[in-house]
């Protein structure tokens, strides 16, 4: 168990600590190293953001933590310490018991996360009955409370309805309600608002914020949208090609992005760029995970690239307190 010193010097226990996680996909064409050495730490009650393009490995990292990686993918290395227990070493039964109860997950598509042939009440109660020793009636009451908690009007009526009766925003609220139903210590939210309208997005994010305050769950917020990160997260990880390339407090990241990829991301967002500058897309494509270039994986697209960037994968170095970066430019950092 890692103990860190908090701001006031108190001992804080890391809720989740991921060390050198590797999840590879074994395909006919070769081994795709989707997650290849990811480290992260989430404290109790904090919101950690994880940002990157599609294909960078953020979703698979989340699935690895939940042990929901399906073939041909497999977690091949690393440790996932949840309250000190390595989740990867648990047998299937034990891992299953943690899911939904201690760690729960919200997926991207609210439209399809709920089973269309069962009522909403059924799907919420199912979770509750599974993890807690309650009667059907008690579970029903809890379900009603949860619906009210996430802001669904007329909760009692909703329980008997089917998912297709509700809008995307409502469905996502219900998915969140199910994720919260057993008071998990950690909620993993994989692109929770990407499929929703902008106005609904704001509502859902606000909901998640207020719930976090009420229940003190930690949230791992995965998204490709820097705006969402800015709004919600306290700390943030930037992922690229299966590795964490930068890690910082949100304010630090926006004020002083260190990794060229992060800088590229910032420049391609209209809100952050001053009026006279042009929006720049990052040139090139995400590398083929089956055939990674030697050395830094961002090298082909990097505007600061130099020959010796190809010598190997740069280690993650702490440049200033809480701000780490994986880049040969910042080699001489504080260890």
């Amino acid at each position: 168990m890692i103990r860190a010193c908090g701001a006031k010097g108190e001992i804080r226990i890391a809720l989740l600590e991921v060390k050198n996680l590797k999840t590879h996909f074994f395909t006919e064409e070769g081994i795709s190293k989707v997650v290849d050495g990811v480290d992260l730490v989430i404290e109790e009650g904090e919101i950690l953001g994880m940002v990157g393009e599609s294909g960078c490995g953020k979703s698979v990292t989340a699935l690895s933590i939940m042990r929901l990686v399906s073939p041909p993918g497999r977690t091949v290395g690393g440790e996932i310490l949840f309250n000190g227990v390595d989740l990867l070493k648990l047998n299937k039964e034990a891992a299953r018991r943690i899911r939904g109860k201690d760690i729960s997950m919200v997926f991207q598509e609210p439209m399809t996360s709920l089973n269309p042939v069962y009522t909403i009440g059924n799907q919420i109660e199912e979770s509750i009955i599974l993890h807690e020793r309650v009667t059907r009636a008690e579970a029903r009451e809890r379900a009603k409370e949860l619906l009210a908690l996430v802001g669904i009007p007329e909760p009692a009526n909703r329980l008997n309805e089917y998912p297709h009766h509700l809008s995307g925003g409502m469905r996502q609220r219900i998915v969140i309600a199910i994720a919260l139903s057993c008071n998990p210590k950690l909620i993993i939210a994989d692109e929770p608002t990407t499929a929703l309208d902008v106005t609904i997005q704001a509502q859902i994010l606000e909901l998640m914020s207020s719930l976090r305050e009420r229940l003190n769950s930690a949230i791992l917020l995965i998204t490709h949208d820097l705006g969402v990160i800015a709004e919600m997260a306290e700390r943030v990880l930037v992922m690229y090609a299966g590795l964490v390339v930068e890690q910082a407090k949100v304010t630090d990241l926006f004020r002083r992005p260190l990794h060229p990829y992060t800088k590229g991301l910032m420049n391609s967002i209209s809100k952050l760029v001053s009026e006279n500058k042009r929006l720049e897309a990052i040139p090139g494509n995400v590398p083929n995970l089956l055939n990674m270039p030697p050395g830094c994986s961002f090298y082909p697209r990097c505007s600061y690239a130099q020959k010796n960037c190809q010598k190997g994968i740069p280690p993650l170095k702490e440049i200033s307190p809480g701000h780490k970066v994986r880049c040969w430019m910042h080699e001489g950092g504080v260890a």
Binding site: F25, F26, T27, E28, E29, S32, V34, S54, G55, G57, S59, V60, L63, V69, S70, P71, P72, G73
Partner: protein
Amino acid sequence: MNKEAEAVYSPRIQTGWKYFFCKLFSEKLVAAGVIVLLIMTFVAVFAQIISPHNPLGVDISSRLLPPSQAHPLGTDDVGRDIFSRIIFGARISLETGLLVALGSMGLGTLVGLVTGYWGGIFDHIVMRVFDALMAFPGILLAIGIMAVLGPNSMNVVVALIVAFIPSFTRLVRGSVLSVKENTYIESARSLGLTDAEILFRHVLPNCLAPILVQVTIIFVFAIRAEASLSFLGLGTPVPQPSWGNILAEGRNYLRDAPWISIFSGLAIAITILSLNILGDALRDIIDPRMRGKGGD
């Protein structure tokens, strides 16, 4: 679905005899199917040359003989050589299958194009008639028509074409209806193309995929239907050899000469099996979206 996981998929590697099954059920099988079909076609075309005996040659003294060197598959109740009869039966089956598949495809497509494109009263009437036709299970319709026309291998072809036309028409009409709304049809019209030109040059190519898929299906159905009808005595009339009626003859001698029914049925089964394998493979190529409907 997780995009990262979606892009990659492959069979798990198995070992030993599990590996055998994995390998067997892949390209090898399709190759086997093709070979069988080529043999069948060859046999059907060159039946006269290959056949060791006259399929109609009656020889009471050699009736009900088990398989031997002279008669590789035995003889039937009037001494005819089963092997020769099965060879000629291949001709009937493949001919029928081909004629029915092409006939119903051609006519059905034509009707579908016309009714889909122009609609109107003609469309209504035709669709009602076809609804009536489709209200009967296929084989029953064929039996009904054969009852009217009388047993004869040409009549079988006609009956089956009639039975299968509605399926093509429905398919094509549906395609035409959806393609019709596309803007490139509008622009073609505004460029001054005649209806016929639009129909054949723009509408038809887009319906091609489902049509080809259906042809492969109908071909198999037709062979099976012809065999069933002949088995019942309502198809190819005796003494002309069709696998179906050989099977029927064999039924009376199941105890004493089971080889008659066994081999004729085997011929049907192997042919249909190969066609199904090929059909599946073809369907995967023509329309990969259909994958998973019949089996991955």
